[in-house]
Subunit: 241 residues, 2 copies
Amino acid sequence: MSTMPRRSEEPAYKRIQGAIRRRIDTGQLKPGNMVPSERELARIHQVSLMTARHALTELARDGVVERRHGAGTFVAPPRVQFNKLLGYSEQMASLGLTAHSRIVASTVISREPEIAARLGLAPTARIVRLERVRLAQNEPVALEVGYWSEDEFPDLLQSTLDGRSLFSALEQDCGVSLAYADEEIDATDADQRMADLLRVGKNTPLLRIRQLIFSTTGKAIVYVTGFYRSGRHTLRIRRLR
Amino acid sequence: MSTMPRRSEEPAYKRIQGAIRRRIDTGQLKPGNMVPSERELARIHQVSLMTARHALTELARDGVVERRHGAGTFVAPPRVQFNKLLGYSEQMASLGLTAHSRIVASTVISREPEIAARLGLAPTARIVRLERVRLAQNEPVALEVGYWSEDEFPDLLQSTLDGRSLFSALEQDCGVSLAYADEEIDATDADQRMADLLRVGKNTPLLRIRQLIFSTTGKAIVYVTGFYRSGRHTLRIRRLR
DNA sequence: AAGTGGTCTAGACCACGGC
DNA sequence: CCGTGGTCTAGACCACTTC
């Protein structure tokens, strides 16, 4: 038999993975169920053992299945993602809450060297500043200020003003694929302006989260400073040893 | 040629990995340097291409090397661990600071159903409570209260009273291997007692971190509530999309 | 064009798990 | 015992990068 059956098509091991993933997605295979063995997959898909093996090994690396020596390959239990980067709307949705935002201010600034530096821009670069109050169940929970380069994302402001979420506007309209965010978290208290916007007393403790969001290319895209009402917002993270 | 050269020895691909890791550890290979190609490794170690390939593929999965199609395999830049679970002493050491602790109180309690529940213990279980002020450069930065089962770790209190860090006492004396911690973070303000202990004004905002630390077996080991002086302590995390 | 990693074959024996 | 995954061979052609 020759080596590869066809040219420039999807690799065989990916087709096998796709077939298995589909059966998991449709519920045909449930967590704990056994996935066909290497030999069985090789026979079904008409490939060599090494190819079937490669398909399963990669699925195991991605956490889709678990392999048990001598026993078989099984659908992995769904794993909750920890420390996942979510936009505000996504976060609320994951908690089953309805999210709203009220735009407090939107301007273009050009003399904020510290913010420009964080975004990797020239000190006098034109930067869009969008200030929003975040609400859940019509109660204000946070004040968030986002900054990004006007040059690089000229349409982003209009998209968000139209009610699109910042994350979806970036990922779908601007074609940016977000990768991760580095966050600095500490506590402060509300000044008079924040207190009014969040409808709390002055000097109420607030959780401050400053996040710098990066794309898959490692470029800083957006800088966000958020002030969260204590009690209304708890940050949950997992740390690994 | 036969299949495997010898019985019950280290697999060939692991020997190859070991050889490469050693060259990286000793500085003989530095980040960005090219690792021998699959064909070269196969020749050097007298194995088939697939075996050499397996060795490199796994090293890439572990982040030790990076593979670039058509170009070669290269030593990966050292990756900083994010969201790493560290004890207080370890944290300070990683910042180049000297850490001290002052024990405020150490008692055994037995009527704290909420804490017992978090630790997965019976509501009336005997629980050790250790309250400490954490200092850096002789300045108080945090108030931490730790809880654990007296039954399961009867000697842990004495170890920590002797000046051992909680983490090292657990891992070395008690033979527990810690795996991860789930943390809840929010903001509060200091009551009079905290204010006195941390030498700040009353109502100063504090970062509150409640962490439940788990062993590799998935069992809750210690519950820690910490109050951190704002400005003196910033939490840094990375979230992935 | 030369060298690299990516995909693939058609088998082999070994180690482990469950019946 | 049989079936499973784990390790391994001795090659092949393809796709990509670098020159």
